[in-house]
Subunit: 279 residues, 2 copies
Protein backbone atom coordinates (compact mmCIF):
# COMPACT_ATOMS: atom_id res chain seq x y z
CA UNK A 1 0.00 0.00 0.00
CA UNK A 2 1.34 3.42 -0.93
CA UNK A 3 1.36 6.59 1.15
CA UNK A 4 -1.70 8.80 0.63
CA UNK A 5 -1.88 12.57 1.16
CA UNK A 6 -3.90 11.94 4.33
CA UNK A 7 -0.95 10.02 5.79
CA UNK A 8 1.19 13.18 5.91
CA UNK A 9 -0.79 15.20 8.49
CA UNK A 10 -1.33 11.89 10.31
CA UNK A 11 2.43 11.52 10.68
CA UNK A 12 2.56 14.87 12.42
CA UNK A 13 -0.25 13.73 14.71
CA UNK A 14 1.54 10.48 15.43
CA UNK A 15 4.75 12.36 16.16
CA UNK A 16 2.92 14.61 18.62
CA UNK A 17 1.26 11.67 20.35
CA UNK A 18 4.47 9.67 20.46
CA UNK A 19 6.50 12.67 21.55
CA UNK A 20 4.16 13.31 24.47
CA UNK A 21 4.44 9.72 25.61
CA UNK A 22 8.22 9.91 25.39
CA UNK A 23 8.84 13.25 27.12
CA UNK A 24 7.14 16.12 28.94
CA UNK A 25 9.59 18.63 27.49
CA UNK A 26 7.57 20.85 25.12
CA UNK A 27 10.68 22.18 23.40
CA UNK A 28 11.83 18.63 22.58
CA UNK A 29 8.43 17.81 21.11
CA UNK A 30 8.49 21.03 19.09
CA UNK A 31 11.90 20.03 17.76
CA UNK A 32 10.48 16.63 16.86
CA UNK A 33 7.55 18.19 14.99
CA UNK A 34 9.96 20.59 13.25
CA UNK A 35 12.03 17.67 12.02
CA UNK A 36 9.08 15.50 11.05
CA UNK A 37 7.61 18.49 9.21
CA UNK A 38 10.94 18.95 7.51
CA UNK A 39 11.02 15.29 6.45
CA UNK A 40 7.60 15.41 4.77
CA UNK A 41 9.27 16.51 1.55
CA UNK A 42 11.44 13.39 1.60
CA UNK A 43 8.41 11.13 1.77
CA UNK A 44 7.30 9.79 -1.57
CA UNK A 45 3.68 8.95 -2.18
CA UNK A 46 5.07 5.78 -3.77
CA UNK A 47 6.56 4.55 -0.47
CA UNK A 48 4.50 2.58 2.02
CA UNK A 49 3.29 4.58 5.05
CA UNK A 50 5.33 2.22 7.23
CA UNK A 51 8.60 3.35 5.67
CA UNK A 52 7.64 6.94 6.36
CA UNK A 53 6.55 6.04 9.89
CA UNK A 54 9.96 4.55 10.54
CA UNK A 55 11.53 7.97 9.91
CA UNK A 56 9.22 9.57 12.50
CA UNK A 57 9.67 7.04 15.25
CA UNK A 58 13.40 6.74 14.84
CA UNK A 59 13.70 10.52 15.14
CA UNK A 60 11.68 10.36 18.37
CA UNK A 61 14.28 8.03 19.84
CA UNK A 62 17.12 10.31 18.87
CA UNK A 63 15.51 13.54 20.04
CA UNK A 64 14.27 12.12 23.32
CA UNK A 65 17.45 10.10 23.70
CA UNK A 66 15.24 7.19 24.63
CA UNK A 67 15.64 3.89 22.78
CA UNK A 68 12.32 2.57 24.03
CA UNK A 69 10.00 5.44 24.97
CA UNK A 70 6.99 3.11 25.14
CA UNK A 71 8.62 0.54 27.44
CA UNK A 72 6.41 1.30 30.44
CA UNK A 73 3.31 1.73 28.29
CA UNK A 74 3.91 -1.66 26.70
CA UNK A 75 4.40 -3.36 30.06
CA UNK A 76 1.13 -1.85 31.28
CA UNK A 77 -0.71 -3.02 28.13
CA UNK A 78 0.64 -6.55 28.53
CA UNK A 79 -0.38 -6.67 32.20
CA UNK A 80 -3.85 -5.34 31.42
CA UNK A 81 -4.24 -7.95 28.71
CA UNK A 82 -2.98 -10.73 31.00
CA UNK A 83 -5.62 -9.74 33.56
CA UNK A 84 -8.26 -10.30 30.90
CA UNK A 85 -6.82 -13.72 30.05
CA UNK A 86 -9.28 -15.84 32.12
CA UNK A 87 -12.14 -13.93 30.51
CA UNK A 88 -10.70 -14.59 27.03
CA UNK A 89 -10.30 -18.30 27.77
CA UNK A 90 -13.88 -18.39 28.95
CA UNK A 91 -15.12 -16.88 25.68
CA UNK A 92 -13.36 -19.71 23.84
CA UNK A 93 -14.76 -22.35 26.20
CA UNK A 94 -18.31 -21.13 25.71
CA UNK A 95 -18.03 -20.60 21.95
CA UNK A 96 -19.73 -22.72 19.30
CA UNK A 97 -16.85 -21.90 16.97
CA UNK A 98 -13.69 -21.47 19.07
CA UNK A 99 -11.51 -20.79 16.01
CA UNK A 100 -13.67 -17.88 14.86
CA UNK A 101 -13.91 -16.59 18.42
CA UNK A 102 -10.10 -16.81 18.60
CA UNK A 103 -9.89 -14.73 15.42
CA UNK A 104 -12.26 -12.15 16.90
CA UNK A 105 -10.23 -12.00 20.11
CA UNK A 106 -6.99 -11.57 18.15
CA UNK A 107 -8.58 -8.65 16.25
CA UNK A 108 -9.95 -7.17 19.48
CA UNK A 109 -6.38 -7.07 20.79
CA UNK A 110 -5.51 -4.91 17.79
CA UNK A 111 -7.17 -1.91 19.46
CA UNK A 112 -4.01 -1.61 21.57
CA UNK A 113 -2.20 0.87 19.37
CA UNK A 114 -0.55 3.96 20.75
CA UNK A 115 0.54 4.95 17.26
CA UNK A 116 -3.07 5.52 16.24
CA UNK A 117 -4.74 6.73 19.42
CA UNK A 118 -4.64 6.51 23.18
CA UNK A 119 -8.40 6.28 23.26
CA UNK A 120 -9.09 2.61 23.74
CA UNK A 121 -10.42 0.50 26.55
CA UNK A 122 -9.37 -3.11 26.18
CA UNK A 123 -12.29 -4.68 28.02
CA UNK A 124 -14.97 -2.42 26.49
CA UNK A 125 -13.55 -2.79 22.97
CA UNK A 126 -13.18 -6.55 23.39
CA UNK A 127 -16.87 -6.94 24.19
CA UNK A 128 -17.83 -4.73 21.26
CA UNK A 129 -15.67 -6.57 18.74
CA UNK A 130 -16.84 -9.99 19.93
CA UNK A 131 -20.30 -9.04 18.69
CA UNK A 132 -19.29 -6.91 15.69
CA UNK A 133 -20.07 -8.14 12.17
CA UNK A 134 -17.06 -8.69 9.94
CA UNK A 135 -16.94 -6.37 6.93
CA UNK A 136 -14.86 -9.04 5.17
CA UNK A 137 -14.72 -12.60 6.48
CA UNK A 138 -12.74 -14.97 4.28
CA UNK A 139 -13.23 -17.68 6.87
CA UNK A 140 -13.84 -20.62 4.52
CA UNK A 141 -10.57 -19.95 2.66
CA UNK A 142 -8.85 -19.50 6.03
CA UNK A 143 -10.08 -22.88 7.30
CA UNK A 144 -9.23 -24.55 4.01
CA UNK A 145 -5.63 -23.30 4.15
CA UNK A 146 -5.38 -24.09 7.84
CA UNK A 147 -6.38 -27.69 7.18
CA UNK A 148 -3.60 -28.03 4.61
CA UNK A 149 -0.91 -26.16 6.57
CA UNK A 150 1.75 -27.90 8.63
CA UNK A 151 3.22 -24.58 9.83
CA UNK A 152 2.03 -21.02 10.22
CA UNK A 153 3.90 -17.76 10.25
CA UNK A 154 2.02 -15.36 12.52
CA UNK A 155 3.20 -11.75 12.22
CA UNK A 156 2.52 -9.89 15.47
CA UNK A 157 1.71 -6.22 15.75
CA UNK A 158 1.49 -4.52 19.16
CA UNK A 159 2.56 -5.42 22.69
CA UNK A 160 -0.55 -6.27 24.69
CA UNK A 161 -2.30 -7.42 21.55
CA UNK A 162 0.28 -10.20 21.72
CA UNK A 163 -1.51 -11.69 24.75
CA UNK A 164 -4.72 -11.85 22.71
CA UNK A 165 -2.74 -13.56 19.95
CA UNK A 166 -1.92 -16.49 22.25
CA UNK A 167 -5.64 -17.30 22.39
CA UNK A 168 -5.87 -17.62 18.59
CA UNK A 169 -2.54 -19.44 18.29
CA UNK A 170 -3.84 -22.13 20.66
CA UNK A 171 -6.84 -22.67 18.38
CA UNK A 172 -4.77 -23.11 15.22
CA UNK A 173 -3.57 -26.63 16.07
CA UNK A 174 -0.45 -26.26 13.91
CA UNK A 175 3.12 -25.26 14.89
CA UNK A 176 3.33 -21.47 14.82
CA UNK A 177 6.28 -19.13 14.34
CA UNK A 178 5.51 -15.72 15.85
CA UNK A 179 7.21 -12.72 14.24
CA UNK A 180 8.30 -9.66 16.21
CA UNK A 181 10.03 -6.40 15.23
CA UNK A 182 13.81 -6.18 15.27
CA UNK A 183 13.94 -3.23 17.67
CA UNK A 184 11.48 -1.37 19.91
CA UNK A 185 9.36 0.92 17.72
CA UNK A 186 6.20 2.61 19.02
CA UNK A 187 4.42 -0.04 21.07
CA UNK A 188 5.09 -2.80 18.54
CA UNK A 189 5.76 -6.25 19.92
CA UNK A 190 9.41 -7.18 20.41
CA UNK A 191 11.01 -10.46 21.47
CA UNK A 192 10.85 -9.49 25.15
CA UNK A 193 7.21 -8.38 24.88
CA UNK A 194 6.26 -11.65 23.19
CA UNK A 195 7.97 -13.56 25.99
CA UNK A 196 6.19 -11.47 28.62
CA UNK A 197 2.91 -12.21 26.84
CA UNK A 198 3.44 -15.98 27.12
CA UNK A 199 4.02 -16.55 23.41
CA UNK A 200 7.28 -18.41 24.11
CA UNK A 201 5.28 -21.24 25.66
CA UNK A 202 3.21 -21.91 22.53
CA UNK A 203 5.25 -20.73 19.55
CA UNK A 204 8.74 -20.12 18.28
CA UNK A 205 9.52 -16.40 18.30
CA UNK A 206 11.61 -14.83 15.53
CA UNK A 207 12.42 -11.29 14.51
CA UNK A 208 11.75 -9.96 11.04
CA UNK A 209 14.72 -7.69 11.59
CA UNK A 210 12.72 -4.64 10.62
CA UNK A 211 13.16 -1.28 12.32
CA UNK A 212 9.86 -0.03 10.84
CA UNK A 213 6.47 -0.19 12.58
CA UNK A 214 5.27 -2.78 10.08
CA UNK A 215 6.60 -5.50 7.80
CA UNK A 216 8.18 -4.39 4.54
CA UNK A 217 10.10 -7.31 3.07
CA UNK A 218 12.89 -5.18 1.62
CA UNK A 219 13.64 -3.92 5.14
CA UNK A 220 13.63 -7.42 6.70
CA UNK A 221 16.50 -9.86 7.03
CA UNK A 222 17.15 -12.38 4.25
CA UNK A 223 16.51 -15.18 6.76
CA UNK A 224 13.07 -13.79 7.51
CA UNK A 225 12.19 -13.31 3.83
CA UNK A 226 13.08 -16.98 3.19
CA UNK A 227 10.84 -18.09 6.05
CA UNK A 228 8.10 -15.77 4.78
CA UNK A 229 8.28 -17.19 1.27
CA UNK A 230 8.30 -20.80 2.43
CA UNK A 231 5.65 -20.68 5.17
CA UNK A 232 2.58 -22.83 4.49
CA UNK A 233 0.25 -20.10 5.71
CA UNK A 234 0.73 -16.54 6.89
CA UNK A 235 -1.39 -14.59 9.35
CA UNK A 236 -0.65 -10.87 9.54
CA UNK A 237 -1.99 -8.70 12.33
CA UNK A 238 -2.84 -5.01 12.17
CA UNK A 239 -2.44 -2.02 9.91
CA UNK A 240 1.34 -1.63 9.91
CA UNK A 241 1.85 -5.15 8.56
CA UNK A 242 -0.99 -4.72 6.07
CA UNK A 243 0.57 -1.53 4.73
CA UNK A 244 3.81 -3.35 3.99
CA UNK A 245 2.40 -6.71 2.84
CA UNK A 246 -0.81 -5.83 0.97
CA UNK A 247 0.95 -6.10 -2.39
CA UNK A 248 3.17 -9.18 -1.90
CA UNK A 249 2.72 -11.95 -4.43
CA UNK A 250 1.85 -14.76 -2.00
CA UNK A 251 -1.35 -15.25 -0.02
CA UNK A 252 -1.55 -13.58 3.39
CA UNK A 253 -4.47 -13.58 5.83
CA UNK A 254 -4.87 -10.10 7.26
CA UNK A 255 -6.59 -9.77 10.63
CA UNK A 256 -7.23 -6.19 11.55
CA UNK A 257 -9.50 -3.43 12.63
CA UNK A 258 -9.48 -0.54 10.12
CA UNK A 259 -8.46 2.25 12.45
CA UNK A 260 -7.93 4.96 9.86
CA UNK A 261 -9.96 6.00 6.85
CA UNK A 262 -7.04 5.59 4.46
CA UNK A 263 -6.60 1.90 5.28
CA UNK A 264 -10.37 1.45 5.30
CA UNK A 265 -10.59 2.99 1.83
CA UNK A 266 -7.72 0.81 0.59
CA UNK A 267 -9.47 -2.36 1.81
CA UNK A 268 -12.82 -1.00 0.63
CA UNK A 269 -14.47 -1.14 4.06
CA UNK A 270 -15.51 1.53 6.56
CA UNK A 271 -13.43 2.96 9.39
CA UNK A 272 -13.69 0.78 12.53
CA UNK A 273 -14.70 -2.27 10.51
CA UNK A 274 -13.05 -5.59 11.34
CA UNK A 275 -11.78 -7.93 8.64
CA UNK A 276 -10.32 -11.35 8.06
CA UNK A 277 -9.04 -10.73 4.54
CA UNK A 278 -7.37 -13.33 2.33
CA UNK A 279 -5.15 -11.61 -0.21
CA UNK B 1 -3.46 33.29 22.28
CA UNK B 2 -0.23 31.50 21.50
CA UNK B 3 0.34 28.53 19.21
CA UNK B 4 0.14 25.16 20.98
CA UNK B 5 1.83 21.95 19.89
CA UNK B 6 -1.57 20.62 18.76
CA UNK B 7 -1.81 23.51 16.27
CA UNK B 8 1.13 22.16 14.24
CA UNK B 9 -0.40 18.89 12.99
CA UNK B 10 -3.66 20.83 12.61
CA UNK B 11 -1.94 23.16 10.17
CA UNK B 12 -1.01 20.20 8.01
CA UNK B 13 -4.63 19.03 8.16
CA UNK B 14 -5.85 22.49 7.22
CA UNK B 15 -3.38 22.63 4.35
CA UNK B 16 -4.63 19.28 3.06
CA UNK B 17 -8.27 20.35 3.32
CA UNK B 18 -7.62 23.72 1.75
CA UNK B 19 -5.41 22.23 -0.93
CA UNK B 20 -8.12 19.79 -1.95
CA UNK B 21 -10.67 22.58 -2.26
CA UNK B 22 -8.25 24.60 -4.37
CA UNK B 23 -7.03 21.91 -6.77
CA UNK B 24 -7.48 18.27 -7.79
CA UNK B 25 -3.81 17.94 -8.65
CA UNK B 26 -2.31 15.53 -6.10
CA UNK B 27 1.25 16.58 -6.89
CA UNK B 28 0.41 20.24 -6.17
CA UNK B 29 -1.16 19.31 -2.84
CA UNK B 30 1.89 17.17 -2.00
CA UNK B 31 4.10 20.18 -2.77
CA UNK B 32 1.90 22.30 -0.51
CA UNK B 33 2.19 19.80 2.35
CA UNK B 34 5.97 19.60 1.76
CA UNK B 35 6.25 23.36 2.11
CA UNK B 36 3.90 23.64 5.06
CA UNK B 37 5.83 20.83 6.74
CA UNK B 38 9.02 22.67 5.97
CA UNK B 39 7.65 25.88 7.52
CA UNK B 40 6.74 24.22 10.84
CA UNK B 41 10.26 24.95 12.10
CA UNK B 42 9.70 28.66 11.43
CA UNK B 43 6.59 28.75 13.58
CA UNK B 44 7.18 29.89 17.12
CA UNK B 45 4.97 28.66 19.95
CA UNK B 46 4.93 32.31 21.00
CA UNK B 47 3.13 33.42 17.80
CA UNK B 48 -0.64 33.31 17.51
CA UNK B 49 -2.01 30.39 15.45
CA UNK B 50 -3.47 32.95 13.04
CA UNK B 51 -0.01 34.21 12.08
CA UNK B 52 1.05 30.66 11.36
CA UNK B 53 -2.20 30.02 9.47
CA UNK B 54 -1.45 32.99 7.22
CA UNK B 55 1.75 31.27 6.07
CA UNK B 56 -0.21 28.15 5.12
CA UNK B 57 -3.02 29.84 3.25
CA UNK B 58 -0.80 32.26 1.40
CA UNK B 59 1.33 29.34 0.20
CA UNK B 60 -1.83 27.65 -1.06
CA UNK B 61 -2.54 30.64 -3.26
CA UNK B 62 0.99 30.62 -4.68
CA UNK B 63 1.17 26.89 -5.31
CA UNK B 64 -2.29 26.62 -6.83
CA UNK B 65 -1.81 29.95 -8.61
CA UNK B 66 -5.30 30.84 -7.39
CA UNK B 67 -5.81 34.08 -5.48
CA UNK B 68 -9.22 33.01 -4.21
CA UNK B 69 -9.50 29.21 -4.16
CA UNK B 70 -12.64 29.35 -2.02
CA UNK B 71 -14.52 31.83 -4.24
CA UNK B 72 -17.14 29.35 -5.41
CA UNK B 73 -17.43 27.74 -1.97
CA UNK B 74 -18.04 31.13 -0.39
CA UNK B 75 -20.71 32.05 -2.95
CA UNK B 76 -22.46 28.74 -2.24
CA UNK B 77 -22.32 29.34 1.54
CA UNK B 78 -23.76 32.83 1.15
CA UNK B 79 -26.58 31.57 -1.06
CA UNK B 80 -27.37 28.72 1.34
CA UNK B 81 -27.46 31.18 4.23
CA UNK B 82 -29.66 33.62 2.27
CA UNK B 83 -32.13 30.80 1.64
CA UNK B 84 -32.40 30.35 5.40
CA UNK B 85 -32.98 34.07 5.92
CA UNK B 86 -36.80 33.96 6.21
CA UNK B 87 -36.43 31.17 8.78
CA UNK B 88 -33.90 33.26 10.75
CA UNK B 89 -36.20 36.29 10.71
CA UNK B 90 -39.01 34.10 11.94
CA UNK B 91 -36.94 32.91 14.92
CA UNK B 92 -36.43 36.57 15.87
CA UNK B 93 -40.10 37.37 15.43
CA UNK B 94 -41.18 34.52 17.68
CA UNK B 95 -38.49 35.06 20.30
CA UNK B 96 -39.12 36.38 23.83
CA UNK B 97 -35.60 37.82 23.73
CA UNK B 98 -34.76 38.80 20.13
CA UNK B 99 -31.30 40.13 21.06
CA UNK B 100 -30.24 36.83 22.63
CA UNK B 101 -31.77 34.90 19.74
CA UNK B 102 -29.80 37.17 17.39
CA UNK B 103 -26.62 36.29 19.30
CA UNK B 104 -27.43 32.58 19.02
CA UNK B 105 -28.07 32.92 15.28
CA UNK B 106 -24.79 34.79 14.79
CA UNK B 107 -22.96 31.99 16.61
CA UNK B 108 -24.82 29.34 14.62
CA UNK B 109 -23.49 30.98 11.44
CA UNK B 110 -19.99 30.38 12.81
CA UNK B 111 -20.26 26.67 11.90
CA UNK B 112 -19.50 27.74 8.29
CA UNK B 113 -15.77 27.25 8.42
CA UNK B 114 -13.91 25.40 5.72
CA UNK B 115 -10.64 25.94 7.57
CA UNK B 116 -11.79 23.68 10.39
CA UNK B 117 -13.98 21.11 8.68
CA UNK B 118 -16.27 20.55 5.75
CA UNK B 119 -18.64 18.62 7.96
CA UNK B 120 -21.37 21.07 8.77
CA UNK B 121 -25.00 21.41 7.82
CA UNK B 122 -26.20 24.99 8.23
CA UNK B 123 -29.85 24.21 8.88
CA UNK B 124 -29.24 21.24 11.19
CA UNK B 125 -26.52 23.08 13.16
CA UNK B 126 -28.67 26.21 13.40
CA UNK B 127 -31.49 24.28 15.05
CA UNK B 128 -29.07 22.61 17.44
CA UNK B 129 -27.35 25.83 18.49
CA UNK B 130 -30.65 27.67 18.97
CA UNK B 131 -31.37 25.24 21.80
CA UNK B 132 -27.81 24.72 23.07
CA UNK B 133 -26.86 26.02 26.52
CA UNK B 134 -24.10 28.63 26.56
CA UNK B 135 -20.94 27.47 28.34
CA UNK B 136 -20.19 31.15 29.01
CA UNK B 137 -22.90 33.80 28.66
CA UNK B 138 -21.78 37.28 29.68
CA UNK B 139 -25.13 38.61 28.54
CA UNK B 140 -25.73 41.14 31.33
CA UNK B 141 -22.38 42.84 30.67
CA UNK B 142 -23.12 42.72 26.94
CA UNK B 143 -26.48 44.45 27.39
CA UNK B 144 -24.99 46.99 29.81
CA UNK B 145 -22.28 47.96 27.28
CA UNK B 146 -24.77 47.95 24.42
CA UNK B 147 -26.98 50.42 26.30
CA UNK B 148 -24.03 52.78 26.70
CA UNK B 149 -22.60 52.39 23.18
CA UNK B 150 -23.27 54.80 20.36
CA UNK B 151 -21.28 52.73 17.84
CA UNK B 152 -20.19 49.11 17.54
CA UNK B 153 -17.29 47.53 15.71
CA UNK B 154 -18.39 44.08 14.56
CA UNK B 155 -15.50 41.90 13.35
CA UNK B 156 -16.78 39.34 10.86
CA UNK B 157 -15.36 35.88 10.35
CA UNK B 158 -16.56 33.67 7.50
CA UNK B 159 -18.53 34.24 4.31
CA UNK B 160 -22.01 32.76 4.78
CA UNK B 161 -21.79 33.37 8.51
CA UNK B 162 -21.96 37.01 7.41
CA UNK B 163 -25.64 36.54 6.43
CA UNK B 164 -26.36 35.33 9.97
CA UNK B 165 -24.53 38.40 11.28
CA UNK B 166 -27.08 40.69 9.61
CA UNK B 167 -29.76 39.25 11.90
CA UNK B 168 -27.82 40.19 15.03
CA UNK B 169 -26.73 43.57 13.65
CA UNK B 170 -30.41 44.49 13.14
CA UNK B 171 -31.08 43.73 16.82
CA UNK B 172 -28.26 45.93 18.13
CA UNK B 173 -30.05 49.23 17.50
CA UNK B 174 -26.75 51.13 17.25
CA UNK B 175 -24.71 52.10 14.14
CA UNK B 176 -22.41 49.21 13.28
CA UNK B 177 -19.14 49.08 11.40
CA UNK B 178 -18.56 45.60 9.98
CA UNK B 179 -14.94 44.49 9.60
CA UNK B 180 -13.77 42.22 6.79
CA UNK B 181 -10.36 40.79 5.83
CA UNK B 182 -8.07 42.72 3.51
CA UNK B 183 -7.77 39.91 0.94
CA UNK B 184 -9.47 36.57 0.28
CA UNK B 185 -8.11 34.01 2.78
CA UNK B 186 -9.76 30.62 3.30
CA UNK B 187 -13.50 31.31 3.32
CA UNK B 188 -13.15 34.43 5.47
CA UNK B 189 -15.51 37.27 4.71
CA UNK B 190 -14.22 39.98 2.34
CA UNK B 191 -15.78 43.26 1.24
CA UNK B 192 -17.50 41.60 -1.72
CA UNK B 193 -18.82 38.74 0.44
CA UNK B 194 -20.20 41.20 3.00
CA UNK B 195 -21.95 43.07 0.21
CA UNK B 196 -23.36 39.84 -1.21
CA UNK B 197 -24.62 39.00 2.28
CA UNK B 198 -26.60 42.24 2.51
CA UNK B 199 -24.37 43.82 5.17
CA UNK B 200 -23.94 46.98 3.07
CA UNK B 201 -27.61 47.79 3.64
CA UNK B 202 -27.33 47.85 7.44
CA UNK B 203 -23.72 48.69 8.32
CA UNK B 204 -20.60 50.40 7.10
CA UNK B 205 -18.07 47.85 5.84
CA UNK B 206 -14.35 48.37 6.41
CA UNK B 207 -11.29 46.20 5.95
CA UNK B 208 -8.87 45.48 8.79
CA UNK B 209 -6.20 45.22 6.13
CA UNK B 210 -5.07 41.87 7.43
CA UNK B 211 -3.93 39.06 5.17
CA UNK B 212 -4.26 36.54 8.01
CA UNK B 213 -7.34 34.39 8.71
CA UNK B 214 -8.00 36.32 11.91
CA UNK B 215 -7.41 39.74 13.45
CA UNK B 216 -3.94 40.45 14.80
CA UNK B 217 -3.59 44.16 15.40
CA UNK B 218 0.07 44.32 14.42
CA UNK B 219 -0.88 42.96 10.98
CA UNK B 220 -3.76 45.42 10.51
CA UNK B 221 -3.68 48.94 9.04
CA UNK B 222 -3.07 51.90 11.35
CA UNK B 223 -6.50 53.25 10.37
CA UNK B 224 -8.15 50.06 11.55
CA UNK B 225 -6.21 49.97 14.82
CA UNK B 226 -7.38 53.53 15.54
CA UNK B 227 -11.00 52.56 14.90
CA UNK B 228 -10.52 49.46 17.03
CA UNK B 229 -9.12 51.45 19.94
CA UNK B 230 -11.83 54.10 19.77
CA UNK B 231 -14.91 51.95 19.21
CA UNK B 232 -17.49 52.09 22.01
CA UNK B 233 -18.02 48.35 21.87
CA UNK B 234 -16.44 45.50 19.94
CA UNK B 235 -18.04 42.23 18.89
CA UNK B 236 -15.62 39.61 17.54
CA UNK B 237 -16.85 36.55 15.69
CA UNK B 238 -15.18 33.14 15.59
CA UNK B 239 -11.93 31.46 16.48
CA UNK B 240 -9.52 33.27 14.15
CA UNK B 241 -10.41 36.66 15.61
CA UNK B 242 -10.32 35.25 19.15
CA UNK B 243 -6.82 33.86 18.60
CA UNK B 244 -5.55 37.28 17.63
CA UNK B 245 -7.58 39.43 20.05
CA UNK B 246 -7.82 37.35 23.24
CA UNK B 247 -4.96 39.27 24.83
CA UNK B 248 -5.70 42.87 23.77
CA UNK B 249 -6.00 45.37 26.59
CA UNK B 250 -9.52 46.61 25.81
CA UNK B 251 -12.81 44.79 26.26
CA UNK B 252 -14.02 42.60 23.41
CA UNK B 253 -17.16 40.46 23.26
CA UNK B 254 -16.29 37.14 21.67
CA UNK B 255 -19.09 35.18 20.01
CA UNK B 256 -17.97 31.78 18.92
CA UNK B 257 -18.38 28.06 18.86
CA UNK B 258 -15.27 26.29 20.21
CA UNK B 259 -14.49 24.12 17.21
CA UNK B 260 -11.12 22.80 18.32
CA UNK B 261 -9.91 21.46 21.67
CA UNK B 262 -7.03 23.95 21.87
CA UNK B 263 -9.35 26.97 21.73
CA UNK B 264 -11.81 25.23 24.06
CA UNK B 265 -8.99 24.61 26.57
CA UNK B 266 -7.83 28.22 26.28
CA UNK B 267 -11.34 29.53 27.03
CA UNK B 268 -11.82 26.82 29.66
CA UNK B 269 -14.87 25.27 28.01
CA UNK B 270 -15.46 22.01 26.13
CA UNK B 271 -15.13 21.42 22.41
CA UNK B 272 -18.37 22.35 20.57
CA UNK B 273 -19.48 24.67 23.38
CA UNK B 274 -20.89 28.07 22.43
CA UNK B 275 -19.87 31.23 24.26
CA UNK B 276 -20.59 34.92 24.57
CA UNK B 277 -17.42 35.90 26.38
CA UNK B 278 -16.61 39.38 27.66
CA UNK B 279 -12.86 39.79 27.93
Amino acid sequence: MRTYLDCLPCMMNQALRAGRLATNDESKIKKLLDEVGDSIKNISLHDTPVESGAIVYNRIKEITNNEDPYKQTKATSINEALELYPLLENYIKESDDPLLTGIRIAIAGNVVDFGMSKDFDLERDLKYILNQNFAILDYEIFKEQLNKASNILYIGDNAGESVFDTILIKQLGVPVTYVVRGIPIINDVTYQDANDSGIDEIAEIISSGTTAPGTILKLCTKEFVDIFNNADMIISKGQGNYEGLSNVSRQVFFLLKAKCHVIAMHINVSEDDIVLLAS
